[in-house]
């Protein structure tokens, strides 16, 4: 019957799993520590988690072994490396936001940090595999932790957000598995590169089934990276969760989603099935445009940023449509630049967090709150203005370079109309970002009370803000280096 098989440890390539292992061990360690001693404080757990993350980051950067490991389940190629670095750096920065002035229930519980580490491990699994099972497991690990962390904010709105997110996530999981099933039924494989190969080899493949599979996959990943029409949950979830977590959600789940989308859809787009390409074209433009237009009418800054992050996701998604290695490098460049700017913007919101909703019954951060901020707290207003102009793509601030590079990639690949759409969309976007700047700088303040804007500020948060603003302003000085790093890794892994 079953014959004993011997596999050498060498072939398993365990170091390829070491980064994720560190986080899982770290998370378990935190849970055990909480069982043994009750004396762990917020700052202790934050620092401990950041230590684990940094350790992980070191291992990721230092890994130069074989790309394949664990029976070919794990694939640590260039884009996996870059995206892991983005995930880890972002996580470390956003975790620092836990060190706020006011007490929040979730940050005093050890479980929060354990879940945070599990979630990062999940995202890492998504990026380091092209096996649909492993991606699914990573996706669910991350999402389940995230739902719980949102609910731990312990406000009615947070519960509502968590349940909405959960429902959407469960539906997305259904779509994902259905898509995988269709691919499996079509090709007999659940490895992305194998799927692509077999589709090419097999001539009498049902195109309808292929398109159906693609649609399910777009639905599943679309929920994660909030592509129109699967974006409707985004603003509600952002509104319900704390600013720190909302900012985190605008970056990390999406980059993990982008990597999966890049692996999967670029393989599909290479098949030159007309329908798939057209569908993607429409999705990209719809995501950009709908995100931007809806953002125009928002009254709350956090919701505005939610819609703006949809628009940015659409912008970046065009890289996958274009599919050249220049565009793929542009995706990562854009997301790194966007990350620091969004980190800054959400940190400002987080700092101004107040116990009561002083300005609006429903919203915590309505536009009117920031009226005349330049007179009350000019420093904060100036920084926020930098972030807004950066998101709008005003040169020489950071996100402008990402836009420039991506539009240029579109032009170079012959997607002139797409490039024009991207440019026009950034022109629309200017309006709502500018709206906040106008509220801050050109209107008279409602009250002179300076303290209400810094109720949640601590030196740690200020340092995070300083890093973000420095990166936003001086991005042009080191883009050269970042881009060289990205291009090297992206071309190395064949994208």
């Amino acid at each position: 019957m079953l014959e004993p098989i011997s596999i050498s440890l060498q072939a398993l390539n365990l170091p390829s799993l070491l980064p994720v292992g560190i986080l899982i061990v770290g998370a378990i360690f935190i849970i055990v520590l909480d069982l043994v001693t009750k004396s762990g404080s917020k700052s202790f757990y934050t620092m401990l988690s950041i230590l684990f993350i940094l350790l992980d980051l070191g291992v990721v950067i230092g890994y130069y072994g074989e790309a394949r490991g664990m029976f070919d389940l794990v694939l640590v190629d260039g884009i996996a490396k870059i995206s892991q670095i983005i995930v880890l750096v972002t996580s470390a920065f956003f975790l620092l936001l836990a060190m706020s002035q006011r007490r929040f229930q979730e940050f005093s519980m050890a479980e929060f940090y354990a879940l945070f580490l599990f979630m990062i491990a999940g995202f890492q699994f998504m990026t380091i595999s092209d096996n649909l099972i492993l991606i699914f497991v990573g996706l669910e690990t991350a999402s389940l932790s995230l739902y719980t962390m949102i609910a731990m904010h312990n406000r009615k709105k947070a519960f509502e957000a968590a349940i909405k997110y959960f429902t959407m996530g469960a539906l997305a999981a259904g779509f994902y598995t259905m898509g995988s099933l269709l691919f499996y039924a079509l090709t007999g494989s659940i490895e992305i590169h194998e799927i692509a190969n077999r589709v090419i080899l097999n001539d009498n493949l049902s195109v309808v089934a292929l398109i159906a599979a693609t649609i399910f996959m777009i639905g599943a990943l679309g929920f994660k990276i909030s592509i129109v029409p699967f974006h409707t949950w985004t603003p509600d979830i952002y509104e319900g969760s704390s600013a720190a977590l909302a900012g985190y959600m605008s970056i990390v789940p999406k980059i993990a989603g982008f990597v999966v989308a890049m692996r999967l859809f670029e393989a599909l787009l290479n098949l030159n099935v007309l329908w798939i390409e057209n569908m993607f074209y429409i999705l990209v433009i719809a995501t950009m445009t709908v995100g931007n237009i809806t953002a125009l009418v928002q009254e709350d800054v956090k919701r505005m940023l939610a819609y703006s992050s949809i628009a940015h996701a659409g912008f970046v998604l065009s890289a996958i449509l274009i599919g050249t290695s220049e565009a793929n490098s542009g995706l990562f460049l854009y997301w790194i630049l966007f990350m620091f700017t969004n980190l800054g913007a959400f940190t400002v919101l987080w700092m101004t967090r107040h116990k009561k909703n002083l300005w609006d019954e429903r919203y915590q951060h309505p536009f009117v709150k920031f009226k005349g901020l330049a007179k009350i707290n000019p420093f904060m207003a100036t920084m926020m203005a930098f972030f807004m102009f950066s998101l709008a793509g005003v040169p020489p601030l950071s996100v402008f370079w990402g836009k420039l590079y991506l539009i240029s990639a579109a032009v170079n690949a012959g997607f002139i109309y797409l490039a024009i759409f991207m440019a026009l969309n950034s022109a629309i976007a200017v309006y709502y970002y500018m709206k906040l700047v106008i509220f801050m700088f050109l209107m008279e303040p409602a009250s002179e009370e300076k303290a209400i804007f810094t109720t949640n500020a601590t030196p740690v948060l200020k340092v995070v803000l300083a890093v973000a603003v420095a990166f936003t302003i001086f991005a042009s000085l080191f883009i050269d280096k970042i881009l060289a790093f990205i291009i090297y890794h992206v071309t190395m892994s064949g994208f």
Binding site: A170, S180, L181, G188
Partner: protein
């Protein structure tokens, strides 16, 4: 003779039922059941296709889906309990603080 096609059709029908439930059901608990149906519909398909190709990965995938579905239920029910404690209702329409 029952072939692969029958299993796939069954899987498809179950999936449609699940999808319909997710769209139409107003009760949160029912909604979660529907998502379970979704996942289990896919399980049937995976096992059948795996058997058809004589390949293990379909069945492995099904096992993983079962595991994930179980943990999803754990988290989901936790959330419903929390919500019920807060509002005394598990109706979908009670989730409408945030709109627009």
């Amino acid at each position: 003779m029952i072939g692969l096609a029958h299993y796939l059709v069954l899987s498809g029908i179950l999936f449609s039922i699940g999808l319909f439930g997710v769209m139409k059901r107003k009760n949160l608990l029912m909604l979660f059941f529907s998502t379970e149906i979704l996942l289990n519909a896919v399980n049937i398909g995976f096992v059948a296709v795996g058997r058809f190709y004589g390949d293990m990965s379909g069945q492995i995938f099904a096992f993983f889906i079962i595991a994930v579905a179980a943990s999803e239920v754990a988290v989901g029910l936790g959330l419903i309990v929390l919500w019920y404690k807060r509002t005394g209702s598990i109706d979908l329409d009670s989730l409408q603080m945030m709109k627009g």
